[in-house]
């Protein structure tokens, strides 16, 4: 009968696993290079804030009003006017993707303005829906501002100016008043990094041991199953937490993301999330016992859902109902609100605890199945 737990044996095995991990350069790649890469991409690259769009103008009217409106577009901070051509020519540029919109100032615009009207046409590139929406809205903004100024210059009180609009909305954004998308993307990338280390790296490494038969070798020793699994996951648990700490440090120092919660809360949140992540990694490796299949499964069931279905990049509420249900099966779904809160809002245990309970539940489930599958494989 083997002893279930032996501190010396456990310590020795833990040391062996840790050395094995530290020796492999790919570990450093995932634990330290990947977080840096993700932070840089999410900090600088994935920017959902309003850009400056390249547009073309087709001015078909020579009136002073039309010229001054075109001048306003050229001077606008929202647009970069790259060309003045007829629509037929500009449309080719729009198809090629060189410009994102065309402003058409129609014939007779000046005459219409003098009569109190004056409409323009805005053609956008609908193949980029987000950009198209901005171009449409900001073009109308430029036109409206011009119309108000023009009316004043003409000595007429324009509509809406002079007395306030009938209903106005006063916007306040809590936690992130300047609406920097970086502030929610950078904490979110911590979820991706921990998923990578917890699930992907663990799945790969343990699958490799299955592939080579070294795991069966270990199981033939007097070590208990629980002990063996622990020695496999503890090093990754620690590694993931180190990586998380590195991300947090960089997020705060380099990217200026506020950290309003407590470090202890962040540690607790991360530690709890790592349980389902590691459990899933073990489960994948035990179920596949093949590095390639394990890596693909980890990519599909852990990395992509964390990136796309966790509410990190895309609003869950906007997804179709079936997919919304599916997101409840993604552990990162419960992590993202906690991370956003600990960074931007400050500790709120009323929000943390239910999410932590869900994560613990997933963790227990994954570990239970992983142990069952492992037992069956060995038997």
């Amino acid at each position: 009968m083997t002893q279930w737990f032996d501190a010396r044996r456990f310590g020795a095995l833990l040391l062996k696993e840790t050395r094995q991990i530290l020796r492999d350069p790919s570990t450093a790649l995932i634990a330290f290079v990947l977080p840096l890469l993700l932070l840089f991409i999410f900090g600088y690259g994935v920017n959902l804030d309003t850009p400056r769009s390249r547009i073309g103008i087709d001015r078909r009217d020579d009136s002073q009003a039309a010229v001054s409106l075109a001048q306003d577009f050229i001077g606008s901070r929202w647009f970069e006017v790259v060309d003045s051509q007829p629509v037929a020519t500009l449309s080719r540029e729009l198809v090629a993707g060189h410009i994102r919109g065309i402003i058409v100032i129609p014939d007779g615009f000046g005459r219409d303005v003098a009569r109190g009207g004056g409409s323009i046409q805005v053609i956008t590139d609908g193949s980029l829906p987000n950009t198209a929406g901005f171009v449409g809205a900001y073009a109308e903004g430029v036109r409206a501002a011009w119309a108000a100024r023009h009316a004043l210059e003409q000595g007429r009180a324009p509509h809406g100016v002079g007395h306030p609009p009938a209903i106005a909305i006063e916007h306040r954004y809590w936690f992130n008043p300047e609406l920097r998308s970086r502030f929610f993307l950078v904490p979110g990338s911590i979820a991706v990094v921990m998923t990578m280390i917890g699930t992907l790296l663990t799945a790969l490494v343990v699958a490799r041991e299955w592939e080579r038969g070294t795991l069966e070798g270990l199981m033939a020793t007097p070590i208990g199953m629980g002990e063996l699994i622990l020695t496999k996951i503890v090093p990754y648990f620690v590694l993931a937490l180190c990586s998380m700490a590195l991300c947090t440090l960089l997020a705060v120092t380099l990217f200026g993301v506020p950290f309003r919660g407590s470090p202890l809360a962040l540690l607790a949140i991360s530690a709890v999330f790592l349980l389902p992540a590691l459990g899933q990694g073990l489960l994948i490796s035990a179920a596949t016992r093949n590095q390639f299949v394990a890596s693909q499964l980890a990519l599909l069931t852990a990395f992509l859902p964390t990136l796309l279905l966790s509410g990190f990049l895309f609003e869950i509420a906007s997804m179709p109902r079936v997919i919304r249900w599916l997101t409840y099966l993604v552990p990162a779904h419960y992590l993202i609100p906690q991370l956003q809160t600990v960074f931007l809002a400050g500790d709120d245990w009323g929000l943390y605890l239910p999410d932590m309970a869900a994560l613990l539940g997933f963790g227990a489930l994954f570990f239970a199945i992983a142990i069952r599958v492992t037992r069956r494989r060995v038997a």
């Binding site: 890469l37 193949s127 929610f184």
Partner: protein, 370 residues
Amino acid sequence: MTIIRLRSIIIKELWAILRDPRTRIILLVPPIVQLLIFGLATTLEVKNMTLGVLDRDGGAWSQELLQRVAGSPNVTRIIPLKNEQDLREAIDRQHVIAALRFDSHFSADVASGRGGVVGLVSDGRRSNAAQIVSGYLDQIAAGVGASVSKTQTGSSSSGGSVVINWFNRNLDYLWFTMPALVAVISAISAMSVVAQSVARERELGTYDQLMVSPLRVGEILIGKMVPPVLIGTFITTVYVILIPLVFRVPLTGSVALLYGALFIYLLALTGVGMLVSVLSATQQQAFLGMFLVAIPVILLSGYASPIDNMPHWLQVIAHLDPATYFLKVTEGVFLKAMPAADVLDNCWPLALICVVTLSASALLFRSRME
């Protein structure tokens, strides 16, 4: 001789990948599931939102505004809030994305012509969604405001902008996502396969056998490029059939052009993947290395956020990304009926990436031989 050798290495490589039934399944089934799930999930629109309302006014105009808000197709639920503390908790706990706050004199202000002001508190933790919600509510408020002005002064509006969205009239986000996924998912599949190929031989020890065989380096590399190109082509074919039929996204351009560009794109991806594979000693390193390359390939391609929004130096890097070019081609061929000249403009950078990465791989491959 070369033909016979090439044939046998191609058969061997295909066999190495497709022999394992689980690998066959994992290569062919998930891309279709991904198309369904991620295609439908990745939208930057905000739908089904839940709003909170703290209505201290309860007058005619706050009711009118609330009714319009409730009638908006983007709003599914409005939660009435009793007081400031309720509001704070609803936002803090993310029960609502935003909350409207009417002061007690709101309707009186509107009726008197002084103009009423509604407060809107949004959850800045989800700043992008919050911003979009604010935009929707501004529009609704402006609409109600216009009807107020009309009843008070009888005036009509002056001028305006008529916005026409070409290629995608209703700015349906699915029309963007679907063609983009063709570029993204075929990249993941093709690169996963090729990154394993050389590293696997090295780990299993068959690399040396390959070296002593009469095969030349070029032949070995070509043999290893065939499976990812075939798999990528297969996945794209499934997509090109499914996307117009199931998702009703129009396919306006030439399918032949799409396949031409696809072929060069897949070659460029295999070139990148091959470089990773040759540089790795084990499958684990190859996979993780591939992953490290795949993340920027996907995120900088314009799929996750427009390239226009990136800082200039990052746009330069984005133009080293094969997916950036192919994304333009898939969007163009699906939605814009992109002419051959524009497709070609995006193909030559791909060819360049392919030549550079493959030559580097061949050089490294050879140097490892000695």
